[in-house]
C-alpha cells in the first residue's frame, strides 16, 4: 500500500512525559454556548441561579447542536457575550464556583443497548469530537447505516500537543472500554487504533490492554504529519479510500478520537456529561509545559498562570498545534470542548515576505491528497472557478503542508480555503 505524502515536523513535545494533573478550580468559568461545528445553544439559566455539575445550561435550538452543561457547581453571575476566534459572538454563561462540585441528581448512568440509545446518549452528554475538529458525535453515529470498521484516532501528529497521548498512556482501559461498548452496540467486528510509530509506549499500552479484547488491532502510522485527518487515518489503518463527496461513516467506517471514545465509556459508567477535558499547555512563553484536566469554560489565562507563564511576554496564543491551531485575538478566551492545547508564544511575529511561485513542486510532493497547491493558488488568484473545480480544490483539508514547505512563503493553504469559499458561493 502506498503511503500518502506528508511532512516531517520538528517534533518537540515537552508535555509528552508530563502526567495529567487536575487544575485547581478556577474563580470563574465562562462557558460559551457554541463549542462545536453547527449552531449555538440558548442559555436556560438566569443570573443568580444555582447550578450543579452536569446541569444543562444551554439548550440546542436546532438539530446541529448538543446541549451545554455546567462544568462546576455554583452561582450563575451573568450571561455575557463571548468572542469566537473567527470574530462572531455567542452568548456565554459565567458561573462562580462554590468549590463543592455537587453533581446534578439527574446524572444517572444511561442504558445503552441499541444504536438509537447510543445516538441519544451521545447527544444528551454534549459529546463532540475531542481531537480538535468539534464534529458532533451523534451526527456521525446517525449518519451511519451499517458500520463495518471502527477507527480510533490516536495519531496526534501536531506539534506540541500530547493530550491524546497521555490519555492512551494513562487510561488505555477507558479507551478500550469505549471501543467494546461501541462494538457491542453497533455490532462492529473490526476495530483499528491508529497511533504514530514514534510513540512506542502508547502502542504498547494499548496492545497490552487490548490483549483480552477481540478484534482490536493497534496500527502503527508513519511518523509524518498529517495522520490524524480522517481520510488519511482511514486509508493508513484500513486501506479504504473515502470518496471526496462522502463522509467515512457513509461508507461504513466510524472514526472517533481516542479521547472521545474514552469519554463515551465514562458517560456510560457515570452519566456525567462532557464537563471537563485534558488540555496541553505549551509554547515558548510557558516555562512548565503540562497536561491539565480542566472544567470546560476555564479561562485560558488560568491555565497559562498555572504553567507559570508570564502573560506580559505573550505575543500570540494558538488553540491547538502549530499547523492547524487557530490564533486567539484576545486573552479573554475559555477552554472549549474540542480544544486539545493552548500554545503561548513570546517571540514577535517574523516578517515573511511573500515571493512569486517558482513552480518547484515541493507543495505537490508534500500534499497528502495529491493536489497541486501551486496551480490551485494560481487558479485562485485568477478566480478561475472552472480550473479550481478541475483541480478538485474541495478535497483540501487545510493541513498546511504546502504552506509549510513553500520556499517562496506563499500562503497556499489559506488561498485554497478561500478558493473553496469561492467555489461554494458560485
Amino acid at each position: 500500500m502506498k503511503r500518502l505524502n506528508g511532512i516531517r515536523l520538528p517534533m518537540k513535545r515537552r508535555a509528552q512525559e508530563k502526567q495529567i494533573t487536575a487544575l485547581p478550580l478556577p474563580k470563574l468559568v465562562r462557558i460559551p454556548m457554541l463549542m462545536h461545528m453547527g449552531d449555538a445553544c440558548e442559555p436556560t439559566v438566569k443570573p443568580d441561579e444555582y447550578v450543579y455539575v452536569g446541569q444543562e445550561i444551554g439548550r440546542p435550538v436546532s438539530d446541529a447542536a448538543v446541549p451545554v452543561h455546567a462544568s462546576v457547581s455554583g452561582t450563575v453571575s451573568v450571561i455575557s457575550e463571548y468572542q469566537m476566534p473567527d470574530g462572531a459572538t455567542v452568548p456565554c454563561v459565567e458561573i462562580v464556583p462554590d468549590g463543592q462540585q455537587v453533581i446534578h441528581p439527574d446524572c444517572q448512568p444511561p442504558k445503552i443497548e441499541k444504536k438509537q440509545d447510543l445516538i441519544d446518549a451521545a447527544r444528551k452528554s454534549g459529546c463532540v469530537g475531542l481531537g480538535g475538529s468539534g464534529d458532533l458525535t451523534f451526527q456521525k453515529l446517525s449518519r451511519a447505516e451499517k458500520i463495518s470498521v471502527l477507527v480510533l484516532n490516536g495519531a496526534e501528529c501536531e506539534t506540541c500537543l500530547a493530550s491524546d497521548l497521555r490519555m492512551m498512556l494513562e487510561n488505555p482501559d477507558q479507551i478500550l472500554g469505549g471501543a467494546a461498548l461501541l462494538q457491542k452496540v453497533l455490532k462492529i467486528k473490526d476495530v483499528r487504533i491508529g497511533v504514530q510509530s514514534n510513540q512506542p509506549a502508547a502502542i504498547r499500552a494499548l496492545t497490552d490492554a487490548a490483549e483480552s479484547a477481540k478484534g482490536i488491532t493497534v496500527c502503527p502510522l508513519p511518523p509524518v504529519y498529517p495522520q490524524g485527518e480522517k481520510r488519511v487515518l482511514v486509508y493508513h489503518t484500513t486501506g479504504i479510500v473515502v470518496p471526496e463527496d462522502k463522509e467515512p461513516e457513509e461508507i461504513g467506517v466510524l472514526v472517533l478520537n481516542v479521547s472521545t471514545c474514552a469519554f463515551l465509556y465514562q458517560y456510560a459508567q457515570t452519566g456525567i456529561p462532557l464537563v471537563e477535558r485534558v488540555v496541553t499547555v505549551d509554547g515558548n512563553a510557558v516555562p512548565k509545559a503540562c497536561n491539565l484536566l480542566v472544567p470546560i469554560g476555564t479561562p485560558v489565562i488560568d491555565l497559562l498562570l498555572y504553567a507559570s507563564c508570564e502573560l506580559d511576554l505573550v505575543k500570540q496564543i494558538w488553540c491547538g498545534g502549530a499547523m492547524m491551531g487557530v490564533s486567539y485575538p484576545t486573552f479573554r478566551a475559555s477552554v472549549t470542548k474540542p480544544q486539545n492545547g493552548i500554545i503561548a508564544l513570546k517571540n514577535p511575529k517574523k516578517e515573511r515576505t511573500v515571493g512569486d511561485c517558482i513552480r518547484c513542486g515541493k507543495c505537490m510532493r508534500a500534499c497528502p491528497m495529491n493536489l497541486i497547491p501551486a496551480e490551485l493558488d494560481r487558479a485562485y488568484e485568477d478566480r478561475d472557478v472552472r480550473m479550481l473545480t478541475d483541480l478538485h480544490a474541495g478535497i483540501c483539508m487545510n493541513c498546511g503542508c504546502c504552506t509549510y514547505v513553500c520556499p517562496a512563503n506563499r500562503p497556499l493553504a489559506e488561498h485554497i480555503q478561500r478558493a473553496k469559499t469561492l467555489l461554494s458561493n458560485t
Binding site: 515536523l9 515571493g355 515541493k362 509549510y404 500562503p411
Partner: protein
C-alpha cells in the same frame, strides 16, 4: 497585557527559501565555471562576469520599469546569467554577451511575468537567438592547449580522447567542456533534494540509447557539445519543466529524441538547447496529462455545453 497577533495557519514554516535554492544551484555550477576559466583564462571570466552582472542589472531595471515587486534578491537572474555565460564561446565580444542577458531577462523572463511565469528557459532562448544572430562568432572556438582558433568542435571532427572530453580539454563553450564538473554539480543538487534526477537521466539515457541504435560513438556524442549542461541544469529548471516524476521522465525522453534528431538530421551541430526549448513549450500539456489523481477524487460529471442564451434582437 499585549495585543495578540493573529495569523492564518500554519504558524511554522520550513527553512527552505528561493534564494537558498538558487545559491545551491550557483554552487553546483561553480566547478564547471572554474574549469572553464582555467581553460580559457581572463576573457572567459570577463564574459561570465558580464552575463551575470548584466542579468542582475536587467532584472533590477526590468522590475522597476514594469513596476513589479523587486525580485532581484532571489538570485534567479544570477543563475540565468551564469548558465548563459557558460554557453558562450570564450572570445565573444562583451557587448554581445550583454545582449544575450537582455534577451534572457527582459524579453523572456520579465515580459512574460517574471520568475515562475516564463514559458521557456531564458538562458536557452537567449542562446538560440544569439546562435542565429551571431552565427559566426558563436561557432568560433579556441583549443585550450594551443590557443588555436577553430570552427569545428570534436562533435563534428571527432578524434578526441574520452578523458579529454570528460575533463573539458577540447574546443568548447566556456562552461560546457568539463562534463565531469557538470555531473558533479548535478549529483550535489540531487542529493540536497533541490532537483529530481528524473529529467536528466531520461534525457541522457534516451539520447544514449538512440545514438547506440544509430551506430554512433555513444560516449563522445554524450560528452561533447552543450548536452550535459542542458540535461543537468536546463532540463530540471523549475518553471519550465513538468511537476510530476512521470512528467519529468516524459520531458527528458522528448529532449533526448529531439537532440538526436537535430544533431543527425538538422542543420546545427548542436541540438540539446533547441530540444530543451521545444520541450519547454510542451510543458503545460505534459503537466496536464501527467496530473496525479487526487486522493478520493470523484470525477465531476461532464457538463453538457449549455446552449447559448438567445440574444433578443433589438429593433432600432
Amino acid at each position: 497585557m499585549n495585543k495578540l497577533s493573529v495569523e492564518s495557519t500554519p504558524h511554522i514554516r520550513s527553512r527552505s527559501s528561493v534564494s537558498g535554492m538558487m545559491l545551491c544551484a550557483i554552487a553546483a555550477l561553480l566547478p564547471a565555471v572554474i574549469a572553464g576559466v582555467l581553460y580559457y583564462g581572463k576573457n572567459a571570466a570577463l564574459i561570465l562576469l558580464t552575463t551575470v552582472g548584466s542579468a542582475f542589472l536587467f532584472e533590477l531595471i526590468g522590475s522597476l520599469i514594469i513596476r513589479r515587486k523587486q525580485s532581484v534578491h532571489d538570485l534567479s537572474a544570477v543563475v540565468t546569467g551564469l548558465i548563459l555565460g557558460m554557453l558562450l564561446p570564450p572570445d565573444l565580444a562583451l557587448w554581445k554577451a550583454a545582449l544575450g542577458s537582455f534577451i534572457a531577462i527582459i524579453l523572456v523572463k520579465q515580459m512574460f511575468g517574471g520568475i515562475g511565469r516564463n514559458f521557456a528557459n531564458p538562458a536557452a532562448v537567449a542562446w538560440i537567438a544569439m546562435r542565429l544572430i551571431f552565427a559566426k562568432d558563436m561557432t568560433t572556438w579556441r583549443v585550450p592547449d594551443t590557443g588555436a582558433i577553430t570552427r569545428v568542435t570534436p562533435l563534428v571532427s571527432g578524434g578526441t580522447g574520452y578523458w579529454d572530453l570528460l575533463l573539458g580539454n577540447y574546443a568548447s563553450y566556456i562552461g560546457t567542456g568539463c562534463a565531469a564538473a557538470l555531473l558533479l554539480g548535478m549529483i550535489f543538487l540531487c542529493f540536497s533534494g533541490i532537483i529530481s534526477p528524473a529529467a536528466p537521466v531520461a534525457f541522457l539515457g534516451s539520447f544514449a540509447l538512440l545514438t547506440w541504435i544509430g551506430g554512433y560513438d555513444v560516449l563522445s556524442q554524450l560528452l561533447t557539445g552543450s548536452l550535459v549542461l542542458a540535461a543537468c541544469f536546463m532540463a530540471c529548471d523549475y518553471t519550465t519543466t513538468p511537476f510530476t516524476v512521470s512528467g519529468k521522465l516524459l520531458f527528458g525522453l522528448g529532449c533526448g529524441i529531439l537532440t538526436f534528431l537535430i544533431r543527425h538530421y538538422g542543420g546545427f551541430a548542436e541540438g540539446a538547447v533547441f530540444a530543451v526549448v521545444l520541450m519547454n513549450l510542451l510543458t503545460p500539456a505534459i503537466n496536464r496529462i501527467t496530473r496525479k489523481h487526487p486522493f478520493g477524487a470523484v470525477e465531476h460529471k461532464k457538463e453538457r455545453k449549455k446552449k447559448k442564451p438567445e440574444v433578443e434582437s433589438v429593433s432600432v
